[in-house]
């Protein structure tokens, strides 16, 4: 009964603690991008082999506000951040929040599907591998996971496309159907990119699951449970797996936060217009505002998934209480 206010104040505390981190990220990214001379104006005006005059460059720089002193630019950006205004893309001149909002749904859906695939694959595989340690099944699963760490996800994506093309004459669609229009087609379209991203993810989690289960199986309470005559299935499911989940949840959370890394390349392969692709475009165009906005988003995702992981700890381990 008394737990709820504790939990709430813990949450508020944690959220307040994220502010200095986000601030640090903001300062770092802002100045990193501006330490070295060169900006979007040159990319923009020289892009098509144009040879702009000095006046044109100056005028464009002035229009984008790049001519102002750095501390003024920084102050403006900070004030914007405090009011959730991430500025305008220097390339399309649309608000960065809009550019992101347009693509977030797609990337988020792929990320969630990849997470589901990863969990469904890794938990049983990791457990099986641990229980059958040293058998050929264990070796097969371990080879499967090590391969997952070595294969670049974009190559896996390309191989998927080649095989789908060969067997089913299927090519990634040029446009994608939103889930609320036609959920079935949507899922079918996004399953393969989610699998390409999810394979590596599941490999990381399965390795953690395996070592975690092996460690837990050596604990006294497992021996006690077995000595009591508890069914082996119950020993594994209720005693071992539940306790082995804590480090696994950490890895799932961390890898989820880092999924944008996999999306950056996979979206390119599958022709998906998502966050990852937006990021690559922003980088190749030196679109500072958009890069900053996306980096802040990535930091926020990292912080929030860490928070969710900490919350989940309490679910799996009743000894953990938040104050």
């Amino acid at each position: 009964m008394g737990q709820r206010p504790d939990m709430l104040s813990y949450l508020v505390n944690r959220l307040l603690l994220t502010i200095p981190t986000l601030l640090g990220v903001a300062v770092l990214i802002f100045f990193m991008l501006r330490v070295v001379p060169g900006d979007i104006v040159e990319v923009k005006l020289r892009g098509d082999g144009g040879n702009p005059t000095q006046e044109m460059v100056e005028a464009e720089r002035k229009r984008l506000g790049l001519d102002r002193p750095m501390h003024r630019q920084f102050a403006d950006w900070m004030i914007g951040l405090a009011t959730f205004d991430l500025g305008k893309s220097m390339w399309t001149e649309q608000p960065a929040t809009e550019e992101i909002a347009l693509r977030l749904e797609l990337s988020l859906q792929v990320a969630l599907m990849a997470t589901v695939i990863a969990i469904l694959l890794s938990i049983p595989l990791g457990t099986l591998s641990a229980l059958l340690q040293g058998t050929w099944i264990d070796y097969a699963i371990r080879i499967f996971t090590i391969a997952g760490l070595a294969m670049p996800s974009f190559w896996l994506g390309m191989l998927t496309i080649v095989s789908l093309l060969y067997f089913f004459n299927w090519l990634p669609p040029l446009t994608y159907v939103p889930i609320y229009q036609d959920p079935w087609t949507n899922m079918a379209q996004l399953f393969w990119p989610a699998l390409a991203v999810g394979y590596r993810y599941s490999a990381v989690v399965a390795r953690m699951m395996r070592s975690s289960i092996i460690e837990v199986l050596n604990e006294d309470y497992i021996r006690t449970a077995r000595a009591k005559g508890v069914y082996e299935r119950l020993v594994v499911m209720r005693h071992a797996m539940r306790n082995a989940m804590l480090p696994v949840i950490t890895v799932i959370g961390l890898e989820f936060a880092f999924l944008i890394g996999g999306l950056v390349v996979t979206e390119q392969v599958f022709n998906l217009n998502g966050i990852g692709r937006l990021f690559v475009q922003a980088v190749s165009r030196s679109d500072f505002t958009l890069i900053q906005a996306l980096v802040m988003l990535s930091a926020l995702v990292f912080i929030l998934s860490n928070l969710v992981v900490d919350m989940l700890y309490a679910v799996f381990d009743p000894r953990i209480r938040y104050r």
Binding site: L33, A150, P152, M158, L165, V283
Partner: protein, 299 residues
């Protein structure tokens, strides 16, 4: 005269010492396999001119998109360039960039980690906050930010800024691991002894602490090369890493390779296989090295 007494002594002597390389191969066969693959790749990369059957940039319109045959083992690409040749030369690019960027990233990271542990207090706080921030980014996002920051900077045919972009994300990871290793060393008596003797901070760090974190450094270094090869391939694939006509595995998969999914799947198969095998070999070797050097050490 003592020669007569020697044989019986030899029987009771300690088991004969194996050469460390041989001992490693016996206790870590998988790691040895990884090491051999790395060696083969390195030799092929260094002597690419003699090993590769063709010129990596020679365009042959008579042999465009040729499937794998005895003439072209791995087939040819859309310009008729031999893929096996480009995979071999690509090893040169991958290993050079992977090695240099890991060396840079791990060394800077290790110095930061040792300094953080040695000085403690505010310096430790400052370095660790920076490390925390850098660790909150996915590796490729951080690398892309550095690419956006620096642009290109070709030096002796190598894009030095690309090496920097790959080195930056490894830095905080190494700094964290090395710091924890160095923290336990700091408490050992010989560091106190060095301090009492009035040695400078630099001397204590470089002569007394750095050599003692060599094991975690080496382990992180091999793992970092695997990561760097993967990262270089991803950046090149995105068109933000190595540029044409330099042969690079990631680059071979980008651009028009995807236009020929149907006509020339070998264009996709072999470069990707090369990336996977290279990363796999370094991971295998790194894991075994870890078990061999320090069974307690976990990343």
């Amino acid at each position: 005269m003592t020669a007569v007494a020697a044989p019986p002594l030899a029987k009771t002597a300690a088991p004969k010492r194996r050469h460390p390389i041989l001992a490693f191969c016996i206790s870590q066969p998988l790691g040895a396999a990884g090491a051999v693959s790395i060696l083969v790749m390195a030799i092929a990369a260094v002597f690419a001119e003699y090993v590769a059957p063709y010129d990596p940039v020679a365009i042959d319109f008579g042999a465009m998109l040729a499937p794998p045959t005895l003439e072209h083992w791995f087939g040819t690409d859309a310009f008729g360039r031999d893929i096996l040749t480009r995979v071999i030369y690509g090893a040169r690019t991958a290993l050079a960039i992977g090695f240099l960027s890991s060396l840079l990233g791990c060394t800077v990271g290790a110095i930061l980690g040792v300094a953080s542990a040695y000085f403690g207090g505010r310096i430790d706080m400052a370095i660790q906050r920076l490390v925390d921030i850098l660790l909150s980014f996915p590796i490729i996002v951080l690398a892309l930010v550095v690419v956006a920051m620096l642009g290109r900077n070709m030096l002796l045919g190598i894009d030095f800024n690309l090496i920097l972009a790959i080195a930056v994300p490894t830095m905080p990871r190494v700094a964290r691991v090395v710091r924890s290793a160095a923290l336990s060393i700091r408490e050992l008596p010989y560091i106190d002894a060095a301090r009492v003797q009035g040695f400078s901070h630099a001397r204590i760090i470089f002569r007394h602490m750095v050599p003692n974190v060599a094991a975690p450094y080496l382990i992180m270094f091999t793992a970092a090369i695997a990561q760097a090869i993967l990262l270089e391939a991803s950046l090149s694939f995105l068109g933000l890493g190595v540029t044409e006509p330099t042969p690079a595995w990631g680059l071979m998969l980008s651009g028009n390779a995807s236009d020929f999914y149907r006509e020339a799947p070998w264009m996709i198969l072999f470069p990707g296989l090369a990336i996977s095998v290279a990363v796999f070999a370094f991971n295998l070797f790194g894991d075994s090295l870890r078990d061999w050097l320090d069974p307690k050490f976990k990343t």
